[in-house]
Amino acid sequence: MTHNLILHVVSKTLIPLIIVFALYVQFHGDFGPGGGFQAGVIMSSAIILYALVFGLDVAEQVMPPTILRLLASLGVLIYAGVGVVTLFPGGNYLDYSVLADTQIAGQHLGILLVELGVGITVFSVMLIIFFAFAGRGRP
């Protein structure tokens, strides 16, 4: 597929849109439908499309597997870390209300961070799985 001009042009136009949409789903998740899981999957689909059209090797240069592994762990750590942070002002685990001055602001901030963690992990795990399967049989 490396010489297919139409696919190249169309996907190059689409990928930024997909990424923007993923970010919208990610950060608008607490007001409308969406959240980290969906956003992570959409974001990873942008890279998967890139890999399908431009080849696996180029895609792995864009998103190196070592970075992906770090990101996968980082997401979980953000999630669990937010919970730990809420312990220190005297809240229970994942009690976002204590994160900011007002309860509502705290809840917003907490869910935003936690969903960010979810998004990062889902994004990187989806890609790790994709690369693992797509890379089978390569030398």
Partner: protein
Amino acid sequence: MPDHLSLLLVVIPLIAAPVAAILPRGRLPWATALTVTSICFILAGMQLWAVVHDGVISYELGGWAPPWGIEYRIDAVNAFVALIVSGIAAITVPYALLSAEKEIPEHQIPHFYSAFLLCFTGLLGITQTGDIFNLFVFLEISSLSSYALISLGQKRQALTSAYQYLIMGTLGATFFLIGVGLIYSQTGTLNMMDLAERLPEVSGLNTVHTGFAFIMIGFALKLALFPLHLWLPNAYTYAPTVITVFLAATATKVALYVMLRVLFTVFPNGFISTIPTGDLFILSGMAGIIIASVYAIYQVDVKRLLAYSSVAQIGYMALGIGFASAMGVTATIIHLFNHALMKGALFMAVGAIIYRIGDCRMDNIQGLGRQMPWTFGAIVTGGLSLIGVPGTAGFISKWYLVLAALEQDAWILVAVILIGSLLAVIYMGRVIEALYFKPAAETNLAVKEAPILLLAPTWVLVFANIYFGLDTELTVGVAEHAAQVLGVAAK
């Protein structure tokens, strides 16, 4: 932060798991696992102490009050199981250093410890949570990581046995979830204590009965209750030895805890006798003790022999549940603890042989007992405990089980328990015969005793077997207290 004790028990390994995954190869991931499991063991000990002395701990996650939010609710039962899980983990990890280096490819080591910690998180989570849906989530965490861990075994069969376990385990988890869904549809709640309050009103409904059946079958699969045990022998045989030790001593115990919890806390008292659940437990327990023990006699692989023996031992625990009496449940909880000790010790000792010769088939281990006296001693003592010889932990559990059977005038069951012990004499006898009385194969003459790092954890468990066979204050005391907490009526 004593308030957060029960939470930290789950969160510390949860945070350590991704950290272990990104650490460089070498011994750092192992050191992380060692630190975390030791901390958790201490925390679990503190938790049990707090629960026994100050009563139930309730922790509201996210500050949302139960029954709306998720609640961790710890009483003597789950505190005890959490102590078993973290104790076994804290002993397994030192053992894992050499054993895992030998059996697992170097580039997988960080992932191995990461998955191990995740499995540990899941098992502890199951014991800590007071929310039945949250329990399902933790069940999946522990199951998914254990499939991955089993597939890391050296032989190619490890992959198929992990896959087999994946299918059976997923079926079990799905059944559990269907059951929870059905009950939720009738009560509108997922909090266990809230369920306990609401279920009596609707306990006559068929939906609730069906939900109950789904939950029981689901966990019988995870528990490997005979005849739903088919995944277990393969999984235990082909998994890396460390994982066999860990899963044999903890995973089935946690599944059994969930059974106890659902039967005696969540469902109204006496529900177990409205449909003949107790009889089913007794029937499958009896069949499991006899049939699995006979299977064990014919095995040529020692690990597989011990795996079948585990199925038989689960049968004993099922008997205790089936009696639905305070004495029966006490016996089950005691055996839950003691079986973790004996199977832990035995699998570790077998692992030491595998470390030396890479195999544990009956004809390959011949005569090794004389060259590896400490390993052999561990197998003999563990075997005696498994048989139930006085002075070992196994005797205490058999004793209470027989008492519980006598209480109900169930002479047949007393006979079954004794026959089970005799069968254990035969299958452990075969191992000991091969190890000690057969002439050593020429290829094995140079084999030396296992390194101290493998022997020390093994012997800690062996001594625990003897200690808890003589001093029963902790086990019996806590088990009786736990049976009381579960509210099982004395008969």
